[in-house]
Symmetry: D2
Subunit: 366 residues, 4 copies
């Protein structure tokens, strides 16, 4: 493979560029018998799409998904599911010197070094727009996981710049534009974003994604550990610079006497591990944290060079997210669902196919 | 694949258990013409092996590597390179109740849930001992990368528990048991470890690994981004709970005006990105940080259950590392080298095969 | 993967069903810099499409290909190339009892056993219509191979039922509906087909595909031998039941003194091997032969069962090829091109990157 | 991957050269809970090993297999199973000019073109000796398939040169050195081989391999069709030049009215398809035929060139099989078992997981 297919069993092949005629993906490996229609996919696409609040890019994209194959009479057939999203807002704007300039923080320079040429329109292949097909594929995985195992994936923002956001009410994530699981921080978030837009600058963010009711036994040692696959999935999301499982970097100063989660007949006593031991799910909640860098496209001038190697400056006008982290929550959820889907199928094929002598230890829902 | 093969082009298939007759790996995809002998591999194995100082496990393993195939007259032939390491110290000790007990923080419970049975001797397949073949494979990758591209991979410990370790002299990493790139912290590290051993407890650590002289253009979007593959490789190392690229979680509070590395004709002005833009190497130093949890095997009693689901307690005697992070530095170096090797071959096959109009921008060596 | 992706480096993921909204594929791994437009692809699609003569199905499909991604300003960018073909002739005909009946010789029964359900419209996923996207992908591979290595792929029919077709003038393959490389057999082919249509029966065929100017050194031992990959590709084409390389089954009665192709400084003296030795191309012409079974859909009544297991009979009316082998020539060419493309990229990554001491031995063009 | 791993789920990675210290393989993906010891593997290795009769090479190799990992207390653990076979008979003979000469019919020239160098000792990596680890891995697959599904794989020789061998008593295959399923042809086979050895020449052969009690539903469209994977596996065996499924090349002259196997409530009425429809197993016997070329190493002089490109002649003395087809039967059985094992795991993960409304149609045992 050449990097555009995610997953081994539930394999999602992604295609498209920001300003091409269309983007989409092909899912190969979805088990047959899952009731599926565009209506199952569209809600997650709508959560990710631009223009939903003043705090995100005002680019207009309906992001309507079309199912081209793999579904017959409303049910998956086990054959590839092709999902197509037509690009609409391909504004033929004046790119100024951007076509020849390597924008700081962007992939302009590296794509050009890799391929010897690049599609500069809106970042081409490197645009975060290419996460939309993954959100669509993730919605299929979410539905299958929910129906087969009761597994639920959810995410929220826990920090935006200097504003820390408590996690005290998950129901709130659907009620505000920040995917904040709390109402207390909303005023600070609103004002912080308003100042940010005025300044023309951008800021980073921290997100948390979780999965509940993950059966114990998912994940394949040595290298396809569940946490390794999660790290691969999350670090592959545009702008992500750090990934943690469970206590993450907090373990550096921990003692083993604290970190090791004790087990009682009634269940685990804590979840420092974040739901994974030895790369295999323990039945506890999966807890993942990720760091997202500030948007590279800002209105403030930065120095760079053009393709001839000469000095130039870059100022990005137009429609950009002051904090790409805001729209990343549904993306991170989708990627986590895709990892779990793959692990579930791997376990069906190669895990124990005998009944275990005692039931699983109940996980701890923190 | 089922999780025991790392890499697509330079594919390393790992086998073995802690107390089985042997461990090893098969490297498929090493280009022909590389001068290679066991002497090229042994030094890295010796850096990782136990018993080298009082601060690590006293388990005795020579970890002598034997090359079984793929080399003829001292040169790689392009065919699979099989590396074998015989296990020597398979102490048939009294495991007490450990065979039936799920040790907190270990993979005992999860392996048993996944497979319905497990090899409990020394952790079986989940033992960190299985990183030895990867260190051996990584030594092959390091040599090829150095000879073809001048790429150098190095690592050091930057924090042990509460003791932060400055990075001021890389030459020191070979002079102390902690892989510390400084002499200033050594007294604190020695005393911290001595107290730790007395206490019977364990502690976490933070490591940094870097690669210099990485050509621009390595890494395959969308999913096989270089940083995504690094995250996958690092999180797959035993006990790792967090991975950062460049500024990592520091980006959460950064502004875009700071984070985006400016480019001048003479080179990049900073390296907040850590050598990767859009998942593709920029030619700057790759900078990776990882968090390693405290050793789960400690002499302090913890609660758990046995296979019947009944309550029990666990106290681990015997020979364990009070800080597994100490011996993890050569492992992290090896995994980074394996990721780069794979990316180098991918670029040879699928990258630009034309001369680019201007030379690469020189990277910044911080 | 789950079977819908062909190739490791030049990876083609196929999707769609015979009567769904669209069929297509995503090519991941095409090197950048190849000039490409729909006009480069359409001619091969037109060679395969139905309705081109009275000897093939009269189903009407324009099979117009749309390039959705991977091409910018007329040149491939190195990112995935998505190719879309909308289905037009989805005649909502009366399927009679076909929806519940397992047609003899078809995949109806086996798909139903595999998936527990199936899309019965026109064979759904098992329809030969799904070869169209491969012909499109093959056209991309053909163009790249021709431009980089001068490699040419060609095919012809060498037998239709009892009518053997000599290979004496390759230029004729474009001049007749049978892809016959000769004019001498045309009258017999015409009359044989006319009688066949009257009878309501179908017949098998034998095809030959060749590749010229294949560089020596392509193919990866042990399992991805070039001939093994060719066999995989050809046997995967609908209705193929046999594959031969070089002398094929003729070797059973041969002596080694005859079979082993002697080598002279001026070149090989013969090509019994068909261009492959030890699974690696020798620089001689690749010669492949395949056997294609008679069309399973015929107007003559056959016995079968329905989904309840009860006896029934099947008579297939409507538009079917009396000899599916006729339209299979461009398909076989495309699959051979895809195998070669993959092998070429593999060799770029993992073969010798040094100049060999003497030039390759010239191959023999028989 | 680079060609040395066979299978996706039951992935067998092969290593070694003919005259290196050892050969072997690593099986990744074997389900846990299979009782396994070297005694389960050795019998098939003994069927393949040299020196068992005067009609095969007299090279002496005990081919004793050692299980290095993946088995604990006599049962597979689900982790990689490493199998090691030490090379014993590495006769340091006088290779004469063979080290510099490209032997006609061998891989000498093509390996050298691919890699720029080669291990010439006994053919190095291209030696049929590398099939031994596959026979060992196949024995593991055979045992699992037999225990889980009652699937049985068997093979026999059906033609040696001009001598056709009837298939009338499968029990005889273990009673004669030719794997002939009949006693009637033995005298002719004996005399044919004796004459052949005197002449210093070699001859080709045709083999049949079958699998019984293969559940319907195995095989993954579009490309991983069961027959496509079988063709890939068989053509990958040294010296194989042709593969047929069911009636194979016989279909060229067949009519559809004959070929399509009718289905009755009691079962299929015939098995022209050879057990596969649309690339998916039908529950009927899998029937595969393969053509094996005459041994390239003969005592008769042939012309070739050396590495300088100069003319030379080759005469192969020493210990070679006058008909490599004789020892190929257990190899073909093993490869078929490996294909089925992979397909079984694929179906467990991605096939129907619901009970089908009616039982499978019984297959036809011809």
């Amino acid at each position: 493979m050449s990097g555009s297919t995610f997953g081994r069993w539930f394999a999602v092949t992604n295609f498209g560029e920001s300003h091409g005629p269309a983007i989409g993906c092909v899912i190969d490996g979805c088990p047959p018998g899952l009731a599926l229609s565009a209506e199952d996919i569209q809600p997650d696409l709508d959560r990710r799409k631009p223009g939903t609040s003043r705090h995100v890019t005002q680019r207009q994209e309906a992001d309507r998904v079309e199912i081209l194959s793999g579904v017959y009479e409303g049910v998956t057939t086990g054959t590839p599911i092709a999902l197509l999203i037509r690009n609409e807002d391909q504004r033929s704007k004046d790119y100024g010197n951007l076509l020849d300039t390597f924008r700081p923080g962007h992939a302009d320079y590296t794509y050009w070094r890799k391929y010897g040429l690049r599609d500069p329109r809106g970042g081409g292949r490197s645009s975060a727009r290419l996460t939309a097909p993954m959100v669509a594929a993730g919605a299929v995985a979410k539905k299958w996981l929910r129906e087969r195992y009761g597994t639920e994936v959810r995410g929220c923002m826990v920090q935006l710049g200097d504003v820390e956001i408590p996690v005290d009410d998950w129901s709130q994530t659907a009620q505000n534009p920040f995917f904040a699981a709390s109402t207390s921080a909303l005023p600070m978030l609103e004002s912080a974003m308003d100042q940010l837009r005025k300044s023309g600058d951008s800021v980073g963010a921290k997100l948390r994604v979780e999965a509940q009711n993950v059966p114990a036994g998912w994940g394949a040692p040595l290298f396809d550990k569940l946490d390794a696959q999660i790290a691969y999935a999350m670090m592959g999301i545009n702008a992500v610079k750090g990934v943690e499982i469970g206590d993450g970097f907090g373990v550096v100063t921990q003692r083993g006497s604290l970190h090791g989660d004790e087990i009682h007949p009634g269940g685990f006593a804590s979840n420092h591990a974040g739901g994974v031991l030895g790369g295999i799910s323990s039945g506890q909640d999966l807890v993942v944290t990720l760091a997202i860098k500030p948007t590279s496209s800002i209105r403030l001038e930065k120095s760079s060079i053009d393709r001839s190697g000469a000095s130039t400056t870059v100022v990005t006008h137009g429609r950009h997210d002051p904090c790409v982290g805001i729209r990343a929550t549904p993306i991170a959820e989708a990627m986590l669902a895709l990892v779990l889907m793959d692990a579930a199928l791997q376990q069906r094929a190669q895990g124990a196919d005998v009944e275990l002598p005692v039931p699983a230890v109940p996980g701890l829902h923190l």
